[in-house]
């Protein structure tokens, strides 16, 4: 029998939501300051409205009398609601700017930003006010680093572990969730300083940007690269810079973003051997090599690139962008659509596989792929080896672990859910007349939170397709569990006793 949620359940959820709204409202002060300095008074007023709503809802939530004891279902509902309501309010400056076709288009970009996807419906991006551009990229940073993690640092309170797990992070690096959250922010801050400095220097000294413009572009590309988001300040994405050094620097941030924070911890503490022995490292290196070979062979067959440097540069960057779940591109969507065949398959596969677990990347994740492959290999070896022979079931992932049937089943279940998600999105695309390969590419890009596009994502696309892609981004980012728990909570509210 389903138990109907009581008033206390709603108060606990509202209290936690209040904390998160306050944190996001305070984060909104940064673009507000940017608009003030730049004398962008129209965006300024829209940011003021957005911050006011966040803080008002935050204070209302925090005023709810509660025992502050989040259980598992409360935590999951809070996480699922956060990823719905923050974009809803965060889209206000977009709606009021006139750069989006309507409320749904603005919401689409806010969802895409927060889920670190990078698909965009913004129009005339090259003339968007810098403060609004900053807010788009800050959404990547908030979503990638985890609003929940930020809230945990500000209000270390009850239910921290549930919220942390709900945000699709299943690896506690340090003994407490708060110290883990602090480490995650330390990694981000170090990369922020090094990444923005390097990108800014390249833009300033090599590309000839003015210093303020170089810093602005460095900051935007850092937010979108390190958080594997994919928004860019210009409509031509990273192709705008026409610079191999800039692409390589962005690539470093993309790789850092797709690495699990457990691996960052191993690198920081000098345990480099642990990085190489790690199941995820080995899996992602194998799948990266495979998808890159597929893409380069496919591209060579099409004859689009006849020189090794051009072929490798374009193939490498696009595969790196796809596999890390970033979504930066150095070729326009119209050109990407002509890649076709094996190159298309290689990119789509790289997007679907995604980065590492407990990173800012999306997709099925290397850990699940590694566990699934290892499990299949073990089953084959059990059949082939003499009866009674013992098949090793150990693997290294944050220490030596045993590959249990439960672990393999969990990995396969989530992997299958991702495949189903990609197929549903592709099916809806095809229903609106999008060719199979393009419908599948775009659906994988949305569901795996990547952001590469072959041109299907466009302000003129059908409303239903926009809604389906938004749902894919939401489900893919939260890896299904929090969303299912939220739907279960709603069902219990309606049908429970």
């Amino acid at each position: 029998m389903l138990i109907k949620p009581v008033a206390e359940d709603f108060r606990v959820i509202a209290h936690s939501m209040g904390r998160i709204f306050v944190v996001v409202g305070l984060a909104g002060l940064v673009p507000l300051a940017w608009a003030t300095v730049g004398r962008e008074w129209h965006p300024f007023s829209s940011f003021l409205l957005m911050i006011g709503i966040f803080l008002l809802l935050g204070v209302i939530g925090l005023r709810q009398p509660t025992s502050d004891r989040l259980d598992w279902s409360h935590g999951m509902v809070v996480v699922a609601l956060t990823w719905l309501l923050v974009p809803l309010i965060g889209a206000i400056p977009f709606v009021l700017s006139g750069h989006w076709g309507g409320e749904i288009d603005a919401l689409f970009d806010a969802v895409s930003g927060l889920t670190t996807t990078g698909l965009a419906l913004v129009q005339d991006l090259d003339h968007l006010a810098p403060s609004l551009n900053f807010w788009r990229h800050l959404l990547h940073f908030l979503g990638g680093q985890g609003i929940i993690i930020a809230a945990l640092l500000v209000f270390a309170g009850g239910g921290a572990l549930t919220l942390y797990l709900g945000e699709a992070r299943d690896e506690r690096i340090l003994p407490s969730v708060t110290s883990t959250a602090r480490f995650i922010w330390s990694v981000s801050m170090v990369h922020l300083v090094l990444g923005v400095t390097t990108l800014g220097l390249v833009a300033w000294q090599v590309l000839g940007f003015t210093l303020p413009r170089a810093i602005f572009h460095g900051l935007m590309i850092f937010f979108a690269g390190f958080d594997t988001g994919g928004f860019a300040p210009q409509s031509t994405s990273v192709g705008y810079y026409h610079s191999a050094i800039f692409e390589a620097t962005a690539g470093v941030l993309m790789v850092a973003g797709a690495m699990s924070f457990g691996l960052h911890y191993a690198l920081w503490t000098g345990r480099r051997r642990a990085v190489l022995d790690n199941l995820e490292t080995r899996t992602i290196l194998s799948t990266f090599g495979l998808t890159m070979a597929m893409t380069l062979i496919g591209l060579a067959v099409t004859g689009l690139y006849t020189h090794a440097v051009g072929l490798s540069r374009q193939g490498f960057f696009q595969v790196l962008s796809a596999h890390t779940g970033t979504g930066f591109a150095t070729v326009p969507a119209s050109e990407l659509a002509t890649w076709g065949g094996l190159a298309f398959g290689g990119l789509a596969l790289a997007m679907a596989l995604g980065g590492m677990a407990s990173s800012t990347a999306g997709g099925v994740k290397a850990l699940r792929i590694g566990i699934t492959v290892r499990s299949i290999v073990n089953q084959i070896r059990e059949v082939l080896l003499p009866e009674g022979a013992v098949v090793g079931t150990g693997f290294i992932q944050a220490g030596r672990r045993r590959l249990t049937p439960q672990l393999a089943q969990a990995a396969m279940t989530i992997s299958l859910l991702y495949v189903a998600l990609f197929l549903v999105g592709a099916g809806v695309g095809m229903a609106y007349g999008v060719p199979l390969d393009q419908a599948m590419f775009e659906s994988v890009s949305a569901g795996a939170n990547v952001g590469l596009s072959v041109g299907v994502t466009d302000p003129a696309m059908p409303l239903m397709l926009k809604l389906v892609y938004m749902a894919e981004m939401w489900l893919g980012r939260l890896e299904f569990v929090a969303v299912f728990a939220f739907l279960g909570f709603l069902y219990a509210w309606v049908k429970g006793k």
Binding site: V255, Y265, L267, W268, G289, A293, A300
Partner: protein, 49 residues
């Protein structure tokens, strides 16, 4: 007590920054190696196709 990245003690900030810098250099090296591998694959593929 052993230093742990993420600790807020001032003496740990330096070791945090050093760890982060080394980590960043390794990431740069990894991307360069991957790019070289891509170049090698690209050259071989163009020769064969």
């Amino acid at each position: 007590m052993k230093n742990r990245p993420g600790s807020r003690r001032p003496s740990h900030l330096l070791s945090d920054a050093a760890g982060g810098l080394i980590s960043f250099v390794i990431e740069v090296a990894a991307v360069l190696i991957l790019a070289l591998v891509a170049l090698l694959i690209g050259a071989v593929v163009l020769l064969l196709v």
